[in-house]
Amino acid sequence: MSDLRYLEAFRDPDLGRSLLSALAIAAKALPRAPVRIMEFCGGHTHAFHRFGLLELLPPEIRMVHGPGCPVCVLPKGRIDAAIGLSLDKNAVLATYGDVLRVPGSHGMTLMKARARGADVRIVVSAMEALSLAEALPDREIVFFAIGFETTTPPTAAVILEARRRNLTNFSVLANHVLTPPAMEAILSGTALDGVIGPSHVSTVIGTKAYDFVSRKHGIPLVVAGFEPLDILLALRMLLSQISEGRSEVENEYARAVVPEGNPRSLGLIERVFERAPSFEWRGLGSLPRSGLSIRDEFGIFDAQRRFSVEIGRVSDPGICECGEILKGVKGPRDCRIFGTLCTPDTPVGACMVSAEGACAAVFHYGDREGAVS
């Protein structure tokens, strides 16, 4: 495992300190301060807290947490649909572990459904769900698929594989969403000076997918890796752009991301999915052409059609600020129930459920001293 040294290299404390000094100097030279920079992706939110980076940043930089957490943007109606399939249709529901604790309507979760007798299985990959279908030929297996462009190609691949293997008991309840339309929605409503672009998503869609950020909104965007040095370097690049009055899409994560993205992954998505006219996001509302649905050609693998699933519209409780937090308008500590009614053990809103949600990150890693009481 020689690649592990590579990992250590991107966490080098000495280089980190040099970058932080450079950031402090660059921040003093900013034409306006503070600048508001959004990390779109929950993975970056998590990294900022886990490595303790936020408090090390110069005061001129204000980080704003974005909505890039697949579990967080999943509306309750879709959780309700999954619970319904597992309880009422007797299907085996296979999904990623994070999804099990997400509350749907009336506080019901897949975890609680399992305790009531539903057959809910945690899988770590789409392929594992397909294997379940082969192992349990007498049961209907529904893979509850979530995620941005990163997890979509594997879902597409298993649908193709299910067809190749003539599996008749496998289907997918697809909740795959697209990054650029969500970013567009946020930039249209939230004032930002720069964006840290996602790591993993960008390996699939490439940097060109963000051209609209600079061209239409005049805001610089730097795609960054998830390691501390990646993040600090990306911030340094953003400050340079702001100071120089540039708004370009730049790539800090060049070791994994290319402008055109991954053609094979993009081809898989295109082959199996098409853009749905609109998709209801938790917090962001209904966004046009922002989610994917399974093409007619693969209709028999679409759980929504197979079981005539209706996705209901369920609004969040009024006291929960998840919507404003996902848009970057408010921070976790601005929410009245953060850390009191809403904790990782008893999440009210989606931002507290997933480890990558902004509220969960602030609660988990933050100094409780500052928690709203």
């Binding site: 980190g16 992706c41 490595f51 890039g68 572990g97 995620g147 997890t151 990558e356 988990h364 933050g366």
Partner: protein
């Protein structure tokens, strides 16, 4: 051994045979399992008496008692198996109270169809571990559940150990300025087991740290006073133990990420699976809190023992938070920032994005 005849009829086929319902019935087959499998592996005078109980002559004094159940998957992992783990687990629970472990019992829940060859391997491993630890497995029980109602084998061990006179280890005695010691790299067991579950996809040379700790504890106690409390950070890892101490003491435990040894393999597996090594289970490590004046001496005692060569000082106890009684664990990160080290939430799950 196979095919021959014993006192109870045809001997068990320990190569190709499987556990059957009758092995747990209490009848002839159960007796045969004890006689041909358990007795040879655990051999000691108490088992040979074959009574319903072991009768022990215990000297006066304070005794520690503990019990633990083992449901690990996979049953065999690099550096150990469920059998050695079941012995080390209870031995270490006793050792964390400063006790010298002496007697263990073992309860087995077997699933119908479980290969006798695996059972034999596990039982022999338990016997070897017990001998290595200097403890005797003095009583046992076996039950068989129908196929599909168990996961091959579950083992419970319970044990008692003698606490030397004058030894009191108690986390409620933790005070500000106490120091926190760790006996070696974290996460080896958890990472080795997770890697073993992944199979070929995640082949490493990493071994579980599963090992007895009572020798190490005895060496620390022998070095002199000043040891406040001990804990082996098993399930939930170092983070969970520190949080428990923070809660009990109501104080703030302040650790430094740079002081916590993590093997590169463990860090790599953790990254791949999206898990923090501080939450990975350890089965042969201990955390200690000691008075500041004792820390150098205890650190030497740890490092001079084979089980504590890579011991380090990972932090100290700070003051509690004003107006709060629930304590906290804060860590200075490698980058120089600080963050809370929280309780583990739910099961450690692989990251999906």
């Amino acid at each position: 051994m196979t095919g021959g005849r014993g006192a109870l009829g045809v001997r068990l086929d320990l190569e190709k045979g499987r556990v059957e319902m009758v092995h747990g019935s209490g009848g002839r087959a159960s007796a045969q399992l004890v006689e041909e499998l358990f007795l040879p592996a655990f051999d000691n005078p108490w088992l040979r008496q074959a009574g319903d109980q072991a009768q022990l002559d215990l000297p006066e004094g304070r005794w520690a008692m503990s019990t633990d159940s083992f449901v690990i998957s996979p049953l065999f992992f690099p550096g150990g198996d469920i059998g050695s783990l079941a012995v080390h687990g209870t031995v270490n629970d006793l050792a964390m109270g400063g006790a010298h472990p002496l007697y263990l019992t073992a309860g087995f829940v077997l699933e119908e169809g479980f290969p006798l060859s695996d059972l034999s391997r596990i039982v022999r491993s338990m016997g070897a571990s017990a001998r290595e630890c200097g403890v005797s497995l003095v009583a046992g029980d076996t039950k068989v559940v129908e196929r599909g109602k168990g996961d091959g084998i579950y083992i419970n061990t319970a044990g008692i150990g003698r606490i030397p006179a004058g030894v009191v280890l108690d986390p409620s005695a933790i005070r500000p300025d106490d120091e926190i010691l760790l006996s070696g790299p974290v996460g080896d067991h958890g990472a080795a087991v997770l890697a073993a579950r992944e199979g070929e996809r995640l082949a490493t040379a990493l071994l579980s740290d599963s090992a007895p700790l009572h020798g190490l504890v005895a060496a620390m106690l022998a070095s002199g006073p000043g040891l406040v409390c001990l804990r082996d950070p098993t399930r939930g890892g170092v983070a969970s133990t520190l949080n428990e101490w923070a809660r009990i003491s109501g104080l703030s435990l302040e650790i430094s990420e740079s002081g916590i040894p993590v093997r590169p393999e463990v860090r790599g597996i953790s990254e791949l699976l999206g898990i923090d090594p501080l939450y990975l289970a350890n089965e042969g490590r201990l955390l200690a809190v000691c008075r500041p004046e004792a820390s150098e001496r205890l650190l030497s005692a740890l490092r001079n023992h084979p089980a504590g060569r890579m011991a380090s000082r990972i932090g100290k106890v700070g003051k509690g938070r004003p107006g709060r009684t629930d304590g906290t664990v804060r860590m200075t990160t490698l980058m120089g920032g600080s963050r809370t080290v929280d309780w583990l939430l739910g099961d450690p799950l692989p990251r999906i994005c």
